[in-house]
Symmetry: C2
C-alpha cells in the first residue's frame, strides 16, 4: 500500500506540520507529509488528487480566523472535513546569539509577532521585525545569523538543531489553534458540522431566519464568522459551526428548509474534535 499523502503549509518546522504529524501518527497507517508554500496550494493539492489529505489552520484563540483557509474552502469544491484538531501554540525565541542584547532582527510570521508583542516590546524594543511567510521560513538560515532570531515552536528548534534563547515568549497562556483535516471521504458522522452560505436577500433578516431555525431546534452554533463575497463592499458569506451531527434529522430538515433563502450553501461535513498536546 502506498502511504497516505498529507499536505500542509511549509516549510518543515511550521505549526501546520506539527499538526499534520500529530494527525498522521493518530491514523495508524503509513503516511508522508508534503509541505506547500501557501495554505491555498495545500488545499488545491487535495482537490487535484496530488495529496490525500490537507491539514490546515482554521482559527487561533488570539488572532481569530485564518481567512485564507475559509476563502479557499468556499472557492474549491469537493472537500470534506475529516476531523478537527486543536494544538497548543508555544512560541520560542530561536537564535544562536548568546544573549538578547545581541539580537538586531527578529523574523517570523505576522501572527506570531502579534502574539508575542508584549514580550517583544519589553525585551527587544529596538530589534527590527521582519515579516515572513511562515514561522519556519527563516530557520534554515539562522545557524549563520548571529544577530538574528526567529519565533517558532520547540519542535522546529529541535528539527533545525537550533538553540532556544528565550522560552514561551507568547503574551497569553491560552494560545491554541484549531486545524481541519480535509479530504475526499464523504461526510462522516460526528459531533460537529460546518457549513458556509451566502444569502439571496439582504443580510439582516435572512441571516436571522437561519439562526432562529437552529435556535428553535436547540442546536448550538459554536461559531459564526463572516467573510466578504469579494463582489461588493458590504456583501458577506457566513461560515457556521453547528454542535450537531449532519445526519441528525433536525439538521437535515433545517438545511432543506433554508435552501430557498440562501443563494449558495456548502456543507463541509461532520467530524469530531481531537485535542493534541504539543511535543
Amino acid at each position: 500500500m502506498s502511504p497516505i499523502i498529507i499536505a500542509h503549509l511549509g516549510p518543515t518546522g511550521t505549526y501546520a506540520e506539527t499538526a499534520a504529524l500529530a494527525y498522521g501518527k493518530s491514523i495508524g497507517a503509513e503516511f508522508e507529509l508534503i509541505p506547500y508554500n501557501t495554505i491555498a496550494q495545500a488545499i488545491e493539492a487535495v482537490a487535484q488528487q496530488a495529496a490525500d489529505l490537507a491539514v490546515v489552520p482554521v482559527e487561533n484563540s488570539i488572532e481569530g480566523s485564518v481567512t485564507m483557509t475559509l476563502d479557499a474552502l468556499w472557492r474549491i469544491d469537493g472537500l470534506q472535513i475529516q476531523q478537527a484538531l486543536v494544538l497548543p501554540i508555544e512560541h520560542q525565541l530561536i537564535s544562536i546569539a548568546q544573549n538578547l542584547a545581541e539580537i538586531q532582527t527578529v523574523y517570523s510570521h505576522p501572527q506570531a509577532f502579534s502574539q508575542c508583542q508584549e514580550w517583544l516590546g519589553k525585551h527587544l524594543p529596538q530589534a527590527q521585525r521582519v515579516p515572513a511567510n511562515s514561522t519556519a521560513e527563516i530557520l534554515p538560515q539562522l545557524a549563520d545569523l548571529s544577530t538574528a532570531a526567529g519565533i517558532s515552536s520547540p519542535s522546529a528548534a529541535a528539527l533545525y538543531n537550533l538553540p532556544i534563547l528565550a522560552a514561551d515568549i507568547g503574551d497569553r497562556l491560552e494560545n491554541r489553534t484549531r486545524f481541519w483535516v480535509l479530504g475526499h471521504q464523504p461526510a462522516i458522522t460526528g459531533s460537529h458540522t460546518s457549513l458556509a452560505l451566502s444569502l439571496s436577500a439582504n443580510v439582516p433578516g435572512a441571516l436571522l431566519a437561519v439562526l432562529a431555525k437552529f435556535a428553535a431546534a436547540q442546536i448550538n452554533l459554536s461559531r459564526i464568522e463572516s467573510r466578504p463575497t469579494k463582489r461588493s463592499l458590504g456583501e458577506y458569506l457566513f461560515f457556521m459551526d453547528l454542535e450537531a451531527d449532519g445526519y441528525d434529522p433536525q439538521v437535515t430538515k433545517i438545511l432543506a428548509e433554508i435552501t430557498d433563502s440562501v443563494e449558495k450553501i456548502k456543507l463541509f461535513g461532520s467530524y469530531c474534535i481531537a485535542d493534541f498536546e504539543a511535543d
Copy 2:
C-alpha cells in the same frame, strides 16, 4: 490656531495616508498628517492625546476585516467614530525596470499580494514575493533597485517620483476599503452606528436574542463580525454596524434592554459615510 493632527499607518504613500489626506481636505481647516508604524500605534496616539484624529482601515471588499483595527478599538477606551469613508484601491506595479522580465522580487503588504495574486501568477510567476509592513515601505529604496518592484497606489508612485511599470494589476474591479475616522468628539448623529459586545451567556442563544431585537425594530445590521475574546478558543466578541442613528429612541431602548445579557458593550458612535474618489 494649531493644525488638526491626523494619525495614520505610515510611511508616507500608504492607502491610509491617501484616506487621511482626503479626509483632511474635506474638513476645511488646517491639518497635519503624522505616520505611525502600526495601526494600533495610530489609534493609541489619539487615545493619549498625541493626535486629534486617526484614520484607520476597517474592512476591504476582498480581504475582509482589518482585525488589528477591531482589536485595538475593543482594547482602547474613549474613542468615537467621527465619519466613515470609502476609498477605491487601485494597485500599480511600481518599478524602475524597463520590462517585466527584469523583475526578480516584488515587495508589498500581504493583503496587496492576495489582491493581485492572479495577475502576479500570470505575469510574474517566478518573482519572489517579499511581505512588508505596508504597501509603501519599500518605496524609498525602489529608485536604486533595478530588478525589484512594489505594489502601491498611483499617488504613492507620484509621491516617490517612481514609474508605474504595469497599471491596475488588482484581480477584481470592485476593490474598496472602508476607513473610520476616530477622535474624541462625543457621538454625533449619523446614519450608521457601530458597537461591539461580548456575551455573558453561551454564544448562540444570547447572540440570537440581540439580533432578534434589532430585527423586530426593523433596524438593519449591515455587518456582523466575530473576533476572539483572546481568553479561550471558541469565545467571541461581535462587532456590529447598525443602519440607524444611535440617538434613535428605538436604538437606545434596545441598547438598554440588552445590557443584562451582554458581558460588556462598547459604543463607537454614530456617523455618516463619505465616498472618496482616488486621485
